[in-house]
Symmetry: C2
Subunit: 357 residues, 2 copies
DNA sequence: TTGTACGCGTTATCAA
DNA sequence: TTGATAACGCGTACAA
């Protein structure tokens, strides 16, 4: 029977088995060969004492690593995982870190809690920043004194941190050019949220001056290289319903009627927004792509599009996550981390065509 | 200048500041009052040595806790977060654990790696099981020897573990009765995946015998209380596209024509499946609810439904997550954990109506 | 192949 | 208010 006073330790097991603690330790770590008979004795003693392996806390102190990689999410966890691109990215991260880590620790950068950034108290071996505010950046700066590897995904990092970036502007320009080449000249743009406050509505010059979300701005800049005067409407988030709302704003007049000068193509900054635009078009009796061309950005596996294949820009979200994971792994191995820049590719689908004569 | 040979420890800081290690420790923990002058000295020494606070690994060994709660996801992380119900549940979990100031460690139960369940190596203070396989259950059983609190969400737990459960069967029966009361007698059922292998197709008696996914089986049993002979088709996952496929199987004949004896109502086991069914119905030229009643299950905020409001069963996903978090918190505080059972509520919408005469 | 002894970096206790 | 000391539980040179 086990002694209830205190949890059994490896020393207790060793004593009960009549071996030294180092032998017992080795039995559990498997790093060195042990005689079968000895191992049996140790395992039996462990079972008897209710000992279920080395305490990870003690092991991590001794080894100097915990096997945990922290992922700092700018927004709340829920929102971060609602976005399919983020989800896929996390998968890539997980994949690349499978060998090097035990798990991902979700850390949220909560501006409501000014004290004690949990980043400093988390026993992590490395950090991945994924859409972080300036405040997060400061907290991380503090932790860097500990010598932790830090990788920044799509966000301005602190000097010396490896960054994972994307050619948002160039890819958007490519897409715009494709639409222009099809013969479209009257196009409408649906942007991602331009501000952290997620305001929905027409994109004006004034708003652009105060906009802060780099991804949205970069993609817009790329589209405007080809269509400098295209009207743009911002969505409050990357959601199908938001795409529907924005598309209606572009297609309909105040009376809810199709406007005569409506765009013949809609360029959406995300696939979900594009799906919403397609839905809105169908609602209005417009056929895609016959009456309206709709293109997206991201190249995620869109759920709910039925048979159509969205014409879009394929972003290597999985690879981004993997790259981040690989850089973390490299740095954990003592090598220097490198920044990685990714290029998107154009992916033709069935939702873009020349404008109706 | 700092010595590059070794990372500074609190002892180094104390020595440099001319105080004892305990005093230096207290300066950082803030648990006891220290003279301002002393604190300044310590802080200055820390800054000078590049010491950025106590090492969380050492602290967690000393304190006996890490401030981390592990969430074991049965499937891969990606899939788990693709499901909106899970996402919301995670949010509730986060919320309930925010006060305990703990982080969430994502652990995946990867069946491909037979050795070394990471669960055993993670320095967690508690575990939450969220759709776990038998194999996970065994691993957890082993870890329980460590005295870790474990909470199981919707899955058969090991004896003595608090469980968070739902009245899937009763709620489904309620919904079926509602549809029957509207006057429907020819209904079709779309089930969630019945097996872990996620097979798509007609639900036969033979399949039911080998089906393993409890949630799907419970909901089906509830529906069949009212419609014992209703044909059922299983989806390969809770996705809109899967709902479309399944709905087509129920509505169309082999030639792709609407069958004369098609159901007048479709009961889907999830909201996403229901959305897919609605989409398929529209494709076939059927109006919802005029020509076809469609109901769901979950009560999530469905993206992409446009103006419609789905008639569904509201499941308290957020509360489930919260409850799990609360039980974890209780157990961390030394109190015994309790199982919590939740009831769903019927939520009327605009997608259910009496069958056309 | 096994045992001894030490240190990983911290914090709680107690005494001064 | 501060200081000395003892754990916390483990892994690993090194010696046998």
């Amino acid at each position: 029977m086990t002694n209830t006073r205190r949890r059994a330790t490896i020393a207790d097991v060793a004593r009960a088995a009549g071996v030294s603690t180092s032998t017992a330790s080795v039995v559990f770590s498997g790093k060195v060969k042990v005689a079968d008979a000895t191992r049996e004795k140790v395992l039996a003693a462990a079972a008897d004492l209710g000992y279920s392996g080395p305490d990870p806390r003690a092991a991590s102190l001794r080894l100097g690593r915990s096997g945990i990689v922290g992922v700092v999410l700018g927004a709340d966890l829920r929102h971060a995982f609602l976005d399919p691109v983020t989800t896929v990215l996390m998968e890539g991260l997980t994949e690349a870190l499978a060998d090097a880590s035990v798990g991902l620790l979700l850390l949220r950068d909560d501006p409501r809690v000014p004290e004690a950034p949990p980043i400093a108290e988390a026993p992590v071996d490395a950090l991945v920043l994924l859409g972080c505010s300036t405040r997060t950046r400061e907290a991380v700066e503090g932790v860097r004194g500990r010598g932790l590897p830090v990788v920044v995904i799509e966000g301005t990092g602190v000097e010396g941190m490896p960054e994972i970036t994307l050619d948002n502007r160039a890819a958007s320009a490519t897409m715009a050019r494709h639409v222009a080449d099809l013969g479209h000249s009257r196009v409408g743009i649906i942007t991602l949220a331009l501000e952290i406050e997620r305001i929905r509505g027409p994109v004006t010059v004034e708003r652009l001056a105060t906009a802060t979300v780099e991804v949205a701005l970069d993609r817009l800049a790329g589209l405007r290289e080809v269509f400098p005067d295209a009207p743009a409407v911002s969505a409050a988030g990357s959601l199908i319903d938001e795409g529907m709302i924005a598309a209606r704003a572009l297609l309909l007049d105040d009376a809810g009627e199709l406007r005569a000068d409506r765009p013949t193509a809609i360029l959406a900054q995300s696939d979900l927004l594009a799906v919403g635009a397609i839905r809105a078009a169908q609602e209005c009796g417009l056929r895609v792509p016959d009456d309206l061309t709709v293109v997206g950005f991201d190249g995620i596996a869109v759920d709910g599009l039925g048979g159509q294949r969205l014409t879009t820009i394929q972003q290597p979200a999985l690879e981004k996550g993997r790259a981040a994971g690989e850089q973390v792994a490299r740095m954990l191995a003592g090598e220097p981390g490198r920044s990685v820049h990714f290029a998107c590719t154009f992916r033709p689908g069935t939702t873009a065509a020349p404008p109706a004569a």
